[in-house]
Symmetry: C2
Subunit: 338 residues, 2 copies
């Protein structure tokens, strides 16, 4: 072998080695989020329309996107949501982003999956305040939807199962890959600053990672809010015990995802805390019995901000129009004309 | 000249003549809508974010898009809109689509242009219920906006003039070209059916076109609602006289655009009428003193549905997050916790 070809072989091997080294996924308690694989684009498009359609509410004003606003981290950035007739919801709206990774839906896990969840707010008198029957009757009266259900499901029957199936199919696409933290997880050493990396080490060493782990950095267990010391709140919500009936599950909630946490303020099930610094401080004290210094808090928050991923990018859907046969919205039926 | 080349010359001339004939714009009292010319895309993007930003409202829940929903013809498809604390608005929300062509803004024309209009709902206690000062303070506290105003305007000052200038720049792009009627206007004989064309002829002959003309098929004059016979309504709104102070202007309103009228139900300033057939019947009787037959009404409605143009296509904007310094939304300040 001539020396020039030896050199080429060496360079090639070195390049391959470097490529492998820098691309090696890290073994960490948090895993990267992968981009959504869309298997049925027509169903996703239909689900997107339904997600944005205010006619699923009694008023004709509130859509899924009203409280899970995809312009603002899949949440409404309010302590608790505004429902029909401006009713105040009892709990903070969790983000819809990456929600397909949750072990169950709602803070108390009362819905097994996204499809089961999607039917809830439509018929909740404090939220969209419609009924499943009315929502389905409305959709059946809209020729554009009849055609689209036919194209997606093979016949044009519209029922709650299909409506929630399509909404869930859209929601499954609402993942946020390629955060700087994920780039680092996948082997890009330059993706995080030293300060951010130090924050991640602290996040693990302090013990946050015990609950906030997996691809969603949470969402995969129920935990008591106030393990070491009770959480003081005006909220009367008791969490998981409402589902299990077990006293031991009082104040137990699904651990929220920390993905995009910079966007999903205010924090906790009561939405009482507006800054990540304060939320981190409270969590360390109440869940881990640790009082963090300001420098430690800032360090962890620097890491948390690297969890903001690429937000779902899509065109605002154009909804098919109602017809004179469509049941009319009832925004003010119990109010005098103003 | 040989006969074959004569034939080619003849065919060429015939082709050119046909091309010219079919492409010749028609001279009609309605003109086609042209696609938006975007001169400053960065300003339009900023305006789009502001249009979708619920932080311009006191509650943090209502954005421009709440009542001028670009998924539903730039309107909310409600008789009158839902404002802060679920207040009922006094008048139907006009579509924002093609609104740059209006001679003035609002039903009573009290704003000269889109920029002047944009400031109104933000500070209207019955609508977004914020103040201009609060809205500006909120935007100034959001680093993403500070950067974006700087990039668009050369420095990062944020004030009401710039906010409304950017919103107006976005709204100017909200035109709906290429409706089937416009294709016909531009010379495409196959764009309309014979029935639709007959409807247009009737629309002109009956006299609708006297007020509904120009590119927006309306929007360019104020007219009394109830020229021949009074319009019966529960609405107490008196229209243009509130601006001019002249008794002669009572019940005078800006003639609404008929562009996309299939999408912008319910109709009239009180939003009391849900079908195009009924609206056409009422207009003919009250404005023109004509009682149309069912066949005539159906014919005109067939024409009206050809006025639905291409809806604005754009990605849902992703909004820059607030910070702990951002004044918080006040959705329930006067209500007990629920």
């Amino acid at each position: 072998m001539k020396s020039s070809s030896k050199m080429i072989t060496f360079l090639l091997a070195a390049t391959l080695f470097n490529a492998f080294a820098s691309a090696a996924p890290r073994q960490e308690p948090i895993q990267p989020i992968e981009a959504a694989k869309v298997e049925n684009p027509a169903k996703v498009e239909l689900g997107k329309k339904l997600f944005f359609d205010p006619r699923l509410s009694r008023s004709g004003f509130i859509s899924c996107n009203s409280c899970h606003n995809l312009s603002t981290g899949g949440s409404d950035n309010l302590p608790s949501s505004i429902g029909h007739n401006w009713q105040q919801g009892p709990i903070n709206s969790p983000t819809v982003l990456n929600s397909s990774m949750n072990l169950a839906q709602f803070w108390d896990g009362r819905a097994a999956d996204l499809q089961e969840q999607a039917g809830g707010p439509i018929a909740n008198p404090g939220e969209m305040a419609s009924t499943h029957d009315l929502a389905i009757e409305i959709l059946r009266s809209i020729p554009g939807y009849v055609n689209e259900f036919g194209a997606v499901y093979g016949n044009s029957k519209i029922d709650l199962e299909r409506v929630t199936d399509a909404i869930a199919a859209f929601e499954e696409t609402l993942v946020t890959p390629n955060s700087r933290f994920d780039q680092w997880l996948k082997g890009d050493n330059s993706a995080l600053t030293k300060a951010e990396l130090k924050g991640y080490e602290l996040f693990k060493n302090v013990g946050c990672v015990a609950c906030h782990n997996g691809p969603a950095v949470g969402g995969n267990s129920f935990q008591k809010m106030g393990m070491v010391a009770p959480y003081e709140t005006d909220s009367e919500v008791e969490g998981r015990s409402a589902v299990t009936g077990r006293d031991a599950d009082r104040f137990s909630f699904k651990v929220p995802t920390l993905r995009n946490v910079e966007l999903t303020y205010p924090y906790f099930h009561d939405g009482a805390i507006w800054s990540l610094e304060q939320a981190t401080d409270i969590m360390a004290r109440l869940q881990l019995g640790r009082t963090l210094t300001k420098a430690e808090i800032d360090s962890i928050v620097a890491f948390l901000k690297t969890l903001t991923g690429e937000q779902p990018q899509f065109k605002l859907p154009i909804l098919p129009p109602s017809t004179p046969a469509t049941p009319r919205p009832q925004p003010f039926e119990n109010k005098p004309a103003g």
